[in-house]
């Protein structure tokens, strides 16, 4: 090419360059929106075939009635919402239909909802989506969420609405929602004294409820109470929180080691449905050092896939619920559970011991940014404060003490980023401890106590007395 390019050519070339640079910048700007798992999930399996196209969904048989249930179950509590003309949040029904159609087409047949999910809109949205398919192509699970009142009328209303909302005349899997708090006494008040339990047992007899079970959150004595009740009522299935962290590292107060729960249920041959397989998303977004270990083990596997394979590897598990919001989540999980490969014993230990031990050293707060606690009446950005702290801990950049290498730098970064992330008026220092947030937290985080802890921590950083 001639060295003497004229000015016009020069401008043209630089213009093209600039346009290209612009396009690259745009692409770069879009990239962070994709989740880590989605990016990893785009990788096909070792032999070059994509299980999404050729694989078969892993099915588990319910010994009680012979149901062939997909190992991946759809948790219907996190669909995207949009604003209606009045500014109210409403479920994006097109998106729900789209996801549910795709899931069904790939063998997912267990759909878990509840009257309280999605600000009370989940049952109806799921009903609309599923009623477009043959009734025998899916199993529906919903719950008796009578937390607010022990009044029988409330329970009846919840029960009857479920049929209307879901547009069905029988329910495949019906759960007593969130048992555990209060143990046997709590159960008595919520279900026995008001006759609701007798009613539900009768409905099971009639076939309106095909399988009756419960979901559990609580401590060990409460769980033992529920197991005792099995002799009386015969739970057809039980839903528990299980993941490779909680297998051995549950705190024992708010939840019990899943190892124990599983063993107790296995002993009684009760089919198990798994919730919180990612521990509220935490296992899909672990600390950098954990990411490093997991990726070293298998650079192609998504972070979430490890957690899903872990729970799926236990034979008593009937289905694993995942609240899949986006298509990427669904596809990543489908790749895990189509042509499912259980973990080896060595891999199980790697997760529930090696990895979980590392995670236990990162004192993160088990907040998954669900924002149920909001709005705080005092204007505090509760999840924002927890996310900022967790991020610092997970990335190993949390200032701990003066002897630490780079302490001054970490200290400054923590304080500056805190001010940038959370406006001063919404920081933890403004918590008065009114406790209104506590019952709203599905993770049972003692929010005021944690806010005070973080506030005291920031105060120490500021004063240089850490």
């Amino acid at each position: 090419m001639s060295k003497n390019i004229n000015r016009r050519e020069f401008l043209k070339k630089t213009g093209e360059g600039a346009a290209l640079a612009g396009a690259v910048a745009m692409a770069g700007a879009c990239a962070p929106k994709k989740t880590a798992e989605a990016v990893a999930g785009a990788v096909v399996s070792g032999d070059g075939t994509d299980p999404l196209e050729t694989g078969k969904m892993e099915l588990r048989t319910n010994p009680g009635n012979g149901d062939k249930v997909s190992l991946l179950g759809y948790g219907c509590m996190r669909f995207t919402m949009k604003k209606d003309s009045n500014g109210k949040d409403i479920v994006d029904q097109d998106n729900v239909n789209n996801l549910i159609d795709y899931a069904l087409a790939h063998g997912v047949n267990y759909f878990d909802t509840a009257p309280v999910y999605l600000q009370g809109q989940s049952e109806k949205a799921v009903g609309i989506a599923l009623s477009r398919h043959p009734r025998n192509s899916y199993y529906i699970a919903t719950k008796m969420s009578n937390f607010q009142s022990n009044d029988r009328k409330v329970a009846m209303q919840l029960y009857n609405n479920a049929f209307k909302n879901l547009q069905v005349d029988y329910i495949d899997y019906y759960l007593l929602h969130s048992l555990g708090r209060g143990g046997a006494d709590g159960f008595k008040a919520r279900f026995e004294d008001n006759g609701v339990m007798d009613f539900l047992l009768a409905e099971r007899e009639k076939g309106k409820i095909r399988q009756l079970g419960l979901s559990f959150h609580g401590d060990k004595p409460s769980f033992d109470d529920m197991m005792e009740l099995h002799d009386k009522y015969h739970w057809d299935f039980v839903q528990i929180q299980m993941n490779y962290y909680d297998w051995k590292h549950a705190d024992g107060v708010r939840n019990v080691n899943a190892e124990y729960l599983y063993a107790e249920l296995d002993k009684r041959e009760i089919p198990i449905v798994i919730m919180e397989p990612l521990q509220g998303g935490r296992l899909a977004k672990p600390a950098d050092s954990v990411v490093n270990r997991l990726k070293e083990k298998d650079p192609q596997a998504s972070l979430a896939s490890w957690a899903f394979r872990f729970v799926g590897s236990y034979p008593r598990v009937l289905s694993v619920l995942s609240g899949m919001v986006y298509m990427e989540h669904l596809q990543d999980n489908l790749r895990t559970y189509m042509d499912f490969k259980p973990l080896t014993e060595e891999e199980k230990i790697f997760l529930d011991t090696d990895i979980a031990d590392i995670m236990a050293n990162y004192p993160t707060i088990e907040c998954n940014d669900c924002k149920y606690c909001m709005p705080c009446p005092y204007g505090i950005d509760i999840p924002g404060i927890f996310m900022h702290y967790n991020n610092s801990v997970n990335r190993g950049i949390q200032p701990r003490n003066k002897e630490q290498e780079d302490y001054e730098k970490l200290r400054k970064a923590y304080l500056v980023s805190y001010d940038r992330a959370i406006p001063t008026l919404r920081q933890a220092s403004h918590c008065v401890g009114c406790k209104q947030c506590i019952p709203k937290c599905p993770q049972s985080i003692p929010i005021p106590r944690e806010l005070r802890r973080l506030d005291a921590y920031v105060e120490k950083l500021k004063q240089g007395t850490l």
Binding site: K371, M374, P375, C376, P377, Y378, G379, D381, K412, A413, L415, V416, S417, D419, R420, P423, T424, L425, R426, S429, H430, C431, V432, G433, C434, K435, R452, D455, E459, K462, Q463, G464
Partner: protein, 540 residues
């Protein structure tokens, strides 16, 4: 050559002083803090004899170098004048000294200084004026720039910059700064150093000494061809070629523009004590060229001027003086009264910047400053009286306060001088920045350890506002939790009831008045616990 040196030094000093006001981190004070301390008025108020004597000696030796090099407002005016048509083309001409205005303002200044009317002092003083201008107009731009950098840096996971909240600290001070800026720019644009030679009290003070300067520009009458080039170049309008090839050394600011302009080598900057005794000594006033010959320094010259009634121009002067003093007072008075009116329109300018929320946030009612019986002055100021009598209202401490506690007062008595209030933050125990930067001795240097031992005020409780006391919540204690000295005790509301709610009480022996409790009290807009200042600060 001399001019070049002058320009370089002036730019260096100007940038240094301006940076002091812009650098909200307080980091460069470590190296450049002295630039503020050698400013004349702060030195006087700090009774910094070393600096005062040094500046006076400098002036006696070399003339008003101070005005051309050290004073930021002077250098700013040179900058403005350089941009103007007149300045570019050199179209200035000699003008008579406006004695009545000049000495009238000076008298007013001295009276204000003695009477402790520091707001008036600050209104007239050049360094304070520049501080206000920078703080109100340049600093926000600087801070927005910083915040932009902070957000860019954050994207690259760097926290080298921290976000600085930009807010209007005081509307009256903002208006005064705006009026000052406009007035200075107009004066400098039209006629160069008019402000310095008619209004500036520091200029007038130095003029008493500069007229005896050992070194100064001197016209060699034998070489001078009366071409007026130097006169046209003189932005101080102090070279009178037609009136006898004289220079009014009381007004000359040693800019050396004239020396560079002379084509006949008739103007030189040199030793001239001998000559001064023969030509324009104060002992031999040249009545014929009245207006350039003040007699004896200071008060004596004032008396001389006020008594110069045998002069034919006296009646005119008298009325002019009356007019000038009257208008100066009126100007001051009207400014003050307008400010008072504005002060009453609170809390419009105290409202925090709206915080963006994503639906999920409760609105937060902005805090409003409570009425304080005694205003709170910074730790290190020793007493309210001492603080306000030393403070030049230069805003340096306001510029560096990282907690948004210090702001110019709207109180008429201390207008523009800072005070503390806790709507946006509180005086944090580890911070002593204001005490590190004060050039006027209004805030003396203290350490964080000393700070916790000093009481600048004490908290008091309004039980009907306290959310626990009035039954809104069962538990709070946010004030007690954040008190750095542990001065707040949560006590049972009903002493005989073991399950009684706990309400705050102040241990006045421990409270230092830092405002943590007031700032973090959930009661809005007025906090249930507020701080009142102490007239005299003392040991805790």
């Amino acid at each position: 050559m001399l001019k070049k040196i002058r320009v370089i030094l002036a730019v260096l000093f100007f940038v240094a002083v301006t940076l002091l006001f812009l650098d909200f981190t307080g980091a460069i004070h470590h190296w450049l803090g002295w630039v503020a301390k050698i400013q004349f008025l702060p030195a006087v108020l700090a009774l910094n004899l070393v600096v005062i004597i040094a500046l006076l000696v400098l002036t006696i030796l070399f003339g008003r170098i101070y005005c051309s090099v050290i004073c930021p407002l002077g250098v700013f005016q040179d900058g403005v004048a350089n941009l103007s048509k007149k300045g570019k083309k050199g179209k200035y001409s000699y003008s008579k000294e406006l004695k009545w205005l000049r000495y009238g303002v000076f008298a007013l200044f001295v009276i204000a200084l003695i009477a402790g009317l520091n707001s008036l002092v600050a209104l007239l003083a050049p360094y304070s004026a520049w501080g206000r201008i920078v703080q109100n107009f340049l600093a926000p731009v600087w801070q927005w720039g910083n915040n932009l950098f902070a957000s860019i840096a954050e994207k690259h996971e760097s926290y080298a910059f921290y976000t600085k909240e930009v807010w209007l600290k005081s509307l009256p001070t903002f208006i005064i700064a705006a009026v000052t800026l406009v007035a200075i720019v107009i004066l400098a644009w039209k006629n160069g150093r008019t402000y310095c030679n008619t209004i500036c009290p520091v200029g007038t003070t130095l003029s008493f000494f500069s007229r005896f300067a050992m070194f100064r520009p001197v016209i060699d009458a034998s070489k001078c061809k009366s071409c007026h080039l130097c006169e046209h170049k003189c932005k101080a309008a102090c070279i009178d070629i037609d009136g006898g090839k004289k220079i009014d050394y009381s007004r000359c600011v040693d800019c050396f523009n004239c020396i560079e302009s002379c084509r006949f080598d008739a103007l030189k900057y040199g030793f001239s004590w001998k000559k001064s005794h023969t030509s324009s000594t104060p002992l031999h006033p040249q009545r014929g060229t009245e207006g350039r010959t003040p007699q004896t320094p200071c008060v004596a010259s004032l008396q001389n001027n006020t008594l110069a009634s045998e002069n034919p121009s006296a009646p005119v002067d008298k009325t002019r003086r009356a007019f000038m003093i009257g208008s100066a007072l009126a100007l001051g008075g009207s400014a003050l009264s307008s400010v008072k009116a504005l002060a009453q329109t609170e809390p419009a300018d105290d409202t925090p910047v709206e915080i963006e929320g994503e639906g999920g946030f409760a609105d937060i009612i902005p805090k409003v400053a409570p009425k304080r019986t005694v205003s709170i002055t910074p730790f290190g100021s020793e007493s309210v009286k001492s603080f306000y009598s030393h403070c030049t209202a230069c805003q340096l401490c306001v510029a560096v306060c990282p907690n948004n506690v210090l702001r110019p007062s709207k109180d008429l008595k201390h207008l523009m001088q800072p005070e503390m209030s806790f709507e946006r933050g509180y005086c944090r125990p580890e911070c002593v920045k204001c005490s590190e930067v004060c050039p006027a001795g209004a805030i003396l240097k203290i350490t964080p350890e000393e700070k916790t031992q000093w009481k600048v005020g004490t908290a008091k409780i309004a039980p009907w506002l306290c959310l626990v006391d009035n039954g809104t919540v069962e538990e709070c204690g946010n004030c007690a939790r954040h008190c750095p000295t542990g001065a707040i005790q949560m006590v049972r509301k009903e002493p005989n009831n073991p399950r009684s709610v706990r309400i705050p009480s102040v241990d006045e022996s421990k409270c230092i008045g830092c405002g943590a409790c007031e700032n973090l009290c959930p009661s809005r807009p007025i906090s249930a616990i507020t701080v009142d200042g102490y007239q005299i600060h003392h040991n805790a």
